[in-house]
């Protein structure tokens, strides 16, 4: 068989396969697989099935899923891999401009000019770009008690899912306590420590970052709030207070708004944050 002949045969074979594939899809239109997203109740002959059902309803942890030998059942294993794939993809998404416009959040940037730099170089995401520094110097809302920053962090979904309710609830909570609030803004590809630079530029007492956490398998919508009272050059990680797991199955965004405004009021009174604040509280 010469080369031409082989190519010819392969081409014909491919055509044939594609045709048969097409008819198959047409015929099987009603047989699309909708893979279950909910945990299965996989325990074989459970002592108390109702109790497993109840357990699954009060924790998102992967329990009550059963086993084959010492391994996960096929469905649970594939669900786990699907959730991992979704979480990996979530990291690469951006907060949309429409969203920022809707929330009236001006967009600032860090020195991380692309995703790779952002992921691989922490310092790049901890410093504002020169242009953003200039913006804050000129137009920042200076000398207020509290500056709120919204950051994409590692999950834009977390920002879009929570900030709509959280931001107004937080601002309202603070204003009711007669705490002055600077106009919030958004920082793209921002890490937590960028808040120190912001605090210095706008001269606020306390800065709070609402930042997307790294996506987990259970949710890519989890947001954290990092707060620090008057950060300086000597600031260490333990000086920050963090409230994490703000999402619909954790601390809901409305609850978080009320909780955070109480916490901030106490920190402003105590004039500190982090471990020092926690110790004073006790």
């Amino acid at each position: 068989m010469d080369f031409q002949e082989i190519v010819q045969r392969v081409v014909e074979e491919v055509k044939k396969n594609m045709n048969s594939l097409k008819t198959e899809t047409d015929q099987n239109k009603e047989e699309i697989i909708y893979f279950p997203e909910e945990r299965i109740e996989g325990v074989e002959k459970p002592h108390n099935a109702a109790s497993i059902e109840w357990a699954q309803s009060i924790t998102p942890a992967r329990i009550g899923i059963g086993r084959t030998g010492t391994r996960m059942l096929t469905t649970s294993y594939l669900q786990f891999l699907i959730d991992h794939a979704a979480a990996q993809d979530a990291v690469l998404k951006d907060v949309s401009d429409d969203f920022l416009q809707h929330m009236d959040l001006h967009k600032l940037e860090t020195k991380a000019s692309d995703m790779k730099t952002y992921l691989m170089d922490l310092d790049a995401g901890r410093k504002l770009s020169d242009e953003s520094i200039k913006y804050l110097e000129k137009s920042g809302d200076k000398g207020k008690n509290v500056q709120i920053i919204v950051c994409d962090g590692l999950s834009s979904s977390a920002v879009e899912a929570n900030v709509v309710d959280l931001l107004p609830a937080l601002i309202q909570g603070l204003k009711l306590k007669n705490i002055s609030v600077a106009k919030p803004f958004f920082i793209k590809r921002g890490r937590v420590w960028v808040q120190d630079e912001v605090a210095a530029l706008v001269n606020c007492d306390l800065v709070i970052s609402l930042i997307g956490e790294r996506p987990g398998l259970n949710t890519d919508e989890s947001l954290s709030a990092y707060m620090i009272y008057r950060p300086t050059e000597k600031t260490v990680e333990a000086d920050r207070t963090v409230i994490s797991n703000i999402h619909k199955d954790g601390l809901t965004s409305v609850e978080a708004g009320a909780y955070l405004s109480d916490l901030i009021e106490q920190m402003l009174l105590a004039k500190c944050s982090g471990v020092t604040f926690a110790q004073q509280r006790s």
Partner: protein, 454 residues
């Protein structure tokens, strides 16, 4: 006179310090690249390994990567080693140290003695001259026991921490995850809860919950809530039941300051546990470490991640911990880029911890923004279990729904025991047999069902 230069394949390489040689001799890792201390080419890395192999232990001793005067981690490491043993070996080169460790004439006893004469930098150095099989073989020779309520580290046994976290600290949800874990045989190392809210009230509640459950079912284990040590100390002062006290450690004083801790605080915590803790002891502490924390906190002083990790073991051993858990892959791709770097870090850490005489466990983990997956994690689990790790974590379905990362699952735990023919800790195995969960070291049909506690 210290030799800091060499010729490799016709190129002349010169290094300026022990610290630089250590950093450049490291296997490639993204965190060292980020800190700008990594070798710039593969041959430069080899040149550094050559220089390191000829370096005398005395030269490392005389040049700690961070000076004694300015860093309490360095001070504790130096103050705790045996001068007599050090003097016997100080003229060895790092290459000779490797040969000694791997020799068939060198066994557990010799290595335990050796460990008391080594600084953490020496231990880091020798690991840089070792391959995966080297690290596994050497690690297998060292298995250290500790006792809190159970005995961890006995030959033929592998323990697990039951890690029943809940995103909102809902007590009943945590309790169900504990039940599920125990029914798979995870929880003999500790029932250890990471609280989402690090307040004294919340921590006290979780300590009481886990303690009462352990009492009710007479489970031979220990409870722990992984809050900041000062929060645990305050809870203990207020009468909360703690069997094991937790803290994360770093390899520099500055790193520890970022964690809000110091030698003084750890001393106080340890003394409080001896006086007010609920457990038998004499090992009351549970520490976590992991390559990359210092560089993430700008507290690395231009020292490579692996050497800093080794130093955190040198710091940890002062308090005779029950468990030291190295968590690799928890931070992100800026410190460990992919599965290969993760597996390497796990092997290095297991070996380095053991050469410090510590009862080591491994948490081979991955986050969703790094280039690693479940396959990498399972390989890391198997290979470090072969190397003789004392324990792993146990997370429902491998998915920590509070901390948002993946760790070894209840299923993986049971599988590791099965693959390697290992048993739960002695007292805990008896408890499992009494509960009808295990027979002859195998899970029964009842195992894996949280509702058996109804």
């Amino acid at each position: 006179m210290m030799k800091l230069s060499c010729v490799v394949k016709g190129t002349h390489y010169t290094f300026s310090s022990v610290r630089e040689v250590l950093a450049k001799a490291s296997e490639a890792k993204s965190g060292d690249v980020m800190a700008r201390v990594a070798a710039e080419s593969s041959l430069e890395r080899m040149a550094a390994k050559v220089v390191l192999s000829e370096m005398k232990l005395e030269e490392i001793y005389e040049n700690p990567v961070i000076p004694y005067e300015i860093d309490e981690v360095t001070r504790l490491i130096y103050d705790d080693i045996s001068d007599t043993i050090y003097k016997d070996i100080k003229s060895w080169t790092v290459g000779e140290l490797r040969n000694y460790i791997l020799s068939s004439d060198t066994g557990t006893d010799q290595l335990l003695k050796l460990s008391r004469g080594l600084t953490s930098e020496m231990i880091s150095a020798v690991a840089k001259l070792m391959s995966s099989i080297d690290l596994v073989l050497a690690s297998q020779k060292m298995k250290y026991q500790a006792h809190c309520n159970t005995t961890i580290g006995e030959p033929g046994r592998l323990a697990f921490r039951c890690q029943p976290n809940h995103p909102n600290d809902v007590p009943e949800g945590i309790l169900y995850s504990i039940k599920e874990g125990l029914s798979y045989g995870a929880g003999d190392a500790v029932i250890g809860i990471n609280p989402n809210v690090d307040t004294i009230e919340s921590v006290k509640k979780l300590l009481t919950l886990s303690h009462e459950f352990i009492e009710k079912w007479q489970i031979p284990t220990q409870n722990c809530v992984l809050a900041h040590i000062t929060t645990q100390m305050e809870a203990l002062k207020q009468g909360a039941p703690i069997a094991l006290m937790f803290q994360s450690l770093a390899g520099t004083q500055k790193g520890n300051e970022a964690f809000g801790i110091s030698k003084k605080i750890l001393d106080e915590g340890y003394e409080m546990m001896a006086r007010y803790g609920t457990s038998a002891g004499p090992n009351f502490m549970y520490f976590e470490t992991g390559q990359g924390s210092e560089v993430s906190l700008n507290a690395d002083f231009g020292v490579d991640m692996q050497t800093l990790e080794s130093r955190s073991y040198g710091f940890a051993r002062h308090w005779k911990p029950f468990m030291v858990n190295t968590v690799s892959g928890f931070i992100g791709p800026e410190t460990l880029y992919d599965g290969r770097q993760l597996i390497r870090a796990d092997l290095e850490d297991g070996f380095m911890g053991k050469l410090h005489g510590l009862p080591m466990g491994i948490a081979p983990t991955y986050t969703n923004h790094m280039d690693a997956d479940q396959n990498d994690q399972e390989v890391a689990g198997i290979i470090t279990a072969v190397a003789g790790a004392n324990f792993y974590m146990g997370v429902p379905g491998g998915d920590d729904v509070m901390l948002n990362y993946q760790d070894t699952s209840y299923h993986d735990d049971a599988s590791l025991r099965e693959i390697l023919g290992l048993r739960p800790l002695r007292e805990f195995e008896k408890w499992m047999e009494n509960m009808g969960l295990m027979e002859n070291g195998k899970l029964t049909k009842r195992a894996g069902d949280l509702s058996i506690f109804d």
